[in-house]
């Protein structure tokens, strides 16, 4: 495992369906990884895509993802003993400290947050978690986190479970009720949701994990840059609220693989 930036070929050791269209793959990867960091996952002959670490143990690491296009569909089909290439971990990861953290996940964002929540709890930090999904069938990691004594709130867009509406709206409610309780907010999910959260969090420090199109992940190609040259692959993917407030494009624009600006759908 000499070169962190050259794919390390490893076998899928286990896989499981977490919810409708959501799958976890586990594989041997004996390198230290922090919650909030991510890998580049090479699916030979298909693509190489960024994926947050969703399971962390000594030797085994995991990713949890939604099937959305070619690469994730190819990943979805993989079975134990199939081989993938991993490079990383990349990025900064979350700062996990304070007394009580509010975690707000939208969609697959909970895959990124789960290891952070586990770490917070293991450090004795009270953790309130908002899991938002389109519909009840797409909620996952609820059991996993309950087992860790996180206080969980659910929202679904269609109201099929829990609060009807967006995770950001539910979070607003929670914050409105007991704002003074939280000294940190950590979020991962659709950017418009995170942007709303940023607007409502007031002076509670916020950390948000961003997604941008990734190529090199070693800070050279510039593909992932936001604001004044902040590289999501190096200085991110986790940015604090203060930084995000200065980034015009946050929640509004991202760039496609050609470098062209694309409006982020709300």
């Amino acid at each position: 495992m000499k070169h962190v930036n050259l794919p390390y070929i490893t076998k899928i050791t286990d896989s499981r369906i977490e919810a409708r269209g959501i799958k976890t793959l586990l594989f041997r990867y004996p390198r230290a990884v922090d919650p909030g960091q991510f890998f580049m996952i090479w699916i030979p002959g298909v693509d190489e895509i960024p994926m947050s670490v969703s399971y962390i143990s000594q030797d085994i690491k995991g990713i949890t993802f939604r099937r959305v296009g070619d690469a994730t569909t190819a990943l979805y089909k993989l079975k134990p003993d199939d081989m993938i290439g991993i490079r990383g971990p990349y990025g900064n990861g979350f700062r996990i400290d304070g007394k009580h953290i509010l975690f707000v996940a939208g969609g697959t964002g909970i895959a990124t947050l789960a290891p952070a929540i586990e770490k917070a709890i293991s450090k004795g930090i009270a953790s309130t978690v908002v899991i938002g999904a389109k519909t009840y069938e797409e909620i996952f990691f609820e059991e996993r986190l309950k087992n860790h004594n996180a206080k969980i709130h659910i929202s679904t867009d269609d109201g099929s479970r829990g609060y009807k509406g967006y995770a950001s709206d539910l979070s607003k409610q929670i914050l409105n009720k007991k704002r003074e309780r939280f000294n940190s907010i950590i979020t991962c999910g659709p950017e418009p949701m995170m942007k709303k959260l940023l607007e409502t969090c007031g002076d509670i420090p916020l950390q948000a994990s961003l997604e941008r199109y990734m190529k090199c992940c070693i800070g050279l190609c510039g593909q992932c840059c936001i604001g004044e040259g902040l590289r999501v692959c190096v200085e991110g993917p986790v940015f604090d609220g203060k930084t995000l407030k200065n980034i015009e494009d946050f929640g509004v624009y991202r760039r496609d693989p050609t470098g062209r600006k694309i409006r982020i759908l709300g």
Partner: protein, 302 residues
Amino acid sequence: MDISTTISSIKLKNPTILASGIMDEDAGSMQRIIKRGGVGAVVTKSIGLTARRGYPNPTVIELEHGILNAMGLPNPGIDHYGEEIEKIKHLQTPIIGSIYGANPDEFIELSRRMEDLDVDALELNLSCPHTKKYGLEIGCDPYLVRKITCAVKENVSIPVFIKLSPNVTSIIELAKMAEEAGADAIVAINTVKAMKINIDLRRPILSNKIGGYSGKAIMPIGVRCVYEIAENIQIPIIGVGGITTGEDAIEYFMAGASAVQIGSGVYYRGIDIFKTVCSEIENWMKKHGYKKLSDLIGVAHI
């Protein structure tokens, strides 16, 4: 200590330039390099007439001794890139517009458009080693190099730099052709054609299979190219390939370069590399009793 340098009519406050393709896809990243990095100039990403996605990933990997990439010239196209250039003009740092095309007409069109955007100079990328039809096929034919250089020179009045590839039998011949055709400077070198195979998966790692090798490993190749070119032409040379320290840059100056570009070094030493390299150059010059950069240029030709 005077480390300013001049390439054609372009004055640089220091001799370090951001190489094309590194942190230059949007205004923000170039802005960061200019403000925090303290570069003498930036080269834009190589821009074409229309948008290109480039190749699927993997497009960049780190090897034991260098970096291997096959981006496939992704770029938003000249129509969209204009606004990025607009946004960094006020920073008072020279902007060198890099362009690539498939034929002289495309180069002419792109040069005019770039000139209209008010860039300080043009860099013609005749040397991308892994994009079919663009770059290498053009850059290794001396007559095409001459034709394109002439065509562009006739159509713009800003200085024109020609970026050459080391993947040719004689880089000297190409540099001579470019000079003859009126080029204002030569940029050498682009990446070296190379490949990494993953033996577990029995396949090249890059989706394009072949890529361009940059970073530390290629520095002796770049120095050789600059040295050879310097023995044969009069116009200035910008050295690039594997530079990570002030001493590396000095080696290029002594080989004949009037300025240097840094690409992969941003990975090895971070965004601050330009500043760091400049202060290493200054310290070395101080220690060795040099007063100005021009006293170093070409002195290894003995």
